[in-house]
Point group: C2
Chain length 295, copies 2
DNA sequence: ATTGTATTGTGCATTTTTGCACATTGAAAG
DNA sequence: CTTTCAATGTGCAAAAATGCACAATACAAT
């Protein structure tokens, strides 16, 4: 199969139009049309329904979008692979970090740091609970709420946003969603209400106190996976959702959350070189990835 | 960039010869030659050293192989994707499940169940701890160790295996590994030793009591991400690793773990239809995915 | 009802890619 | 040392892909 066809497929899936897909890819819309036709012929399935309004994904087409997205993600990675150099820093650093940002953003920074400093040890504690710095439960904590008092050095890292997402095909099938009341037509995906450890993460009552997620998990990976599988709609971090452009926002004017990440270290250890280097690198990485600055 | 070029790149990287790569892909060796040249020109890096003996990867080329492999894996997945149907079952089901299997296997079963039974609610509690069924902390638990006593219905779901993995390029660069002692040359990635909740997951002392992971996390997602980024080597569930064919096993004869998943329900609730249906479906899904039967 | 806009689809010319055939090179075998 | 084999690289013709221009259709605006 022509791997480029997957690229064309994805562009059309995202944009819903040959003309826009062509623009996105820098080719004529006719080319896109032929590539899609060729792909459909080759795999023996109709991926889009055509109309003068544009191209809309069929069920079969929707099923293919997640993998196409992964392919694109890997293609982007292919185009960015370089090396760095190493210095000396050593010892363990324990970092308390929310689960989603741990896997999607901080893990990269941690890996880079470990490569750069061969004697460094990093422990990412991605548990859904708060950490006591005075008890040295962690050396550096990334939190979604600003800590109250304590001999802590606190800085706001950046804002991040969340929206209600659904798989494009799912939204097109179940939509349109013009008000929050429409959401009762579909399944909600979210945190297990009784097990939410920080009220900053308790989004759903803010949307609709009567809305209860039917598929819930303590793990944002599981929540995301469920949304990606078109099981329903869920509040997803935008920085996670952007890896999957077949996720579309639903009612973005009505349902939009901004939260902040806070970096916290204990005053007594703030000047430890390895804690300083690690926290700085991770904060920078987060800011770069989230493309936001402290307000 | 031409995504097909990545395919040609990978074929040459694997085979070491244009002629063999051509055969693998069903094209002329001249085509492969031109595609590689085109790719190198586009990215501005020499990926292969040429000789009458064939093509051998440069450092830059080696760095690209893992992502190319992931793209191939994506393409294979793209070519295989299908759908299912629905019935009536309702109420909440809380399932305690280990994190890795939660995201990689059980989330799919849970999504499918929620689609099939529109009135069903599933909560996947993917926390690194044990659950009390008598306290109704969960309705169904998937455990990595067989529970001792209690009014429980226990069944072995399946075996699963883990091996020590590294990214292919990483292993080729840092290898060969001929004994466990060789592992001290590279960084270990694993669980945070003090926070392991089930001794069945404490793999590393079984490998080498003196080996300590330098990058550790409570989250297997983070561990996996770090291995995938070529930060070091880590014990990975084979069912996770197989999504990434550029992960290779290291010392598979010496370092190989078999563990089992156990399904546990409370005797009093075992006959509840929704618990029965859910546990059955999830167990079947796990067995299918893991392709193993109880011994 | 008419006009304008934006979409998809297609014929044909142009451009790009690929296959074929052959030259060159290096290493192995005799 | 010579011959054979297998590799890479390249010119040219053939095939395939793409761009351009235009037709057809549906819908929005007037």
């Amino acid at each position: 199969m022509n791997w480029n066809d997957i690229r064309y497929f994805l562009a059309v899936a995202r944009s819903g139009r040959l003309t826009r897909a062509g623009s996105m890819l820098g080719v004529d819309h006719a080319t896109v049309s032929r590539r899609i036709a060729s792909l459909e012929a080759e795999i023996g399935a109709k991926l889009f329904d055509r109309s003068p309004k544009g191209y809309s994904l069929t069920g079969a087409g929707s099923d293919l979008v997640p993998v196409a997205k992964m392919m694109e993600s890997n293609a982007i990675k292919f185009e960015a692979t370089i090396g760095t150099s190493g210095e000396k820093l050593s010892g363990p650093v324990r970092i308390g970090v929310p689960e989603g940002v741990a896997a999607y953003i901080v893990s990269r920074a941690a890996s880079d740091l470990c490569k750069k400093y061969p004697l460094l040890e990093i422990q990412l504690i991605a548990l859904p609970r708060k950490f006591s710095l005075s008890n040295r439960e962690a050396d550096f904590v990334i939190s979604v709420s600003r800590p109250k008092t304590g001999r802590l050095k606190v800085q706001k890292i950046c804002d991040y946003s969340l929206h209600l997402y659904g798989l494009r095909s799912f939204v097109e099938e179940k939509g349109p969603f013009t008000s929050v009341a429409d959401l009762h037509r579909v399944m909600g995906i979210g945190y297990v209400p009784e097990l939410i450890f920080d009220k900053e993460l308790d989004y759903i009552p803010l949307v609709d106190p009567n809305f209860r997620p039917r598929l819930s998990s303590t793990s944002v990976h599981v929540q995301l996976e469920a949304v990606l599988q078109g099981a329903g709609v869920g509040i997803v971090h935008d920085f996670m959702a952007r890896r999957y452009d077949d996720l579309v926002q639903i009612l973005p004017q009505e349902i939009s959350f901004n939260r902040s990440f806070w970096g916290i270290v204990h005053e007594d250890y703030a000047d430890l070189e390895r804690i300083k280097v690690c926290s700085t690198a991770i904060i920078e990485c987060m800011r770069n990835e989230l493309k936001l600055t402290p307000s």
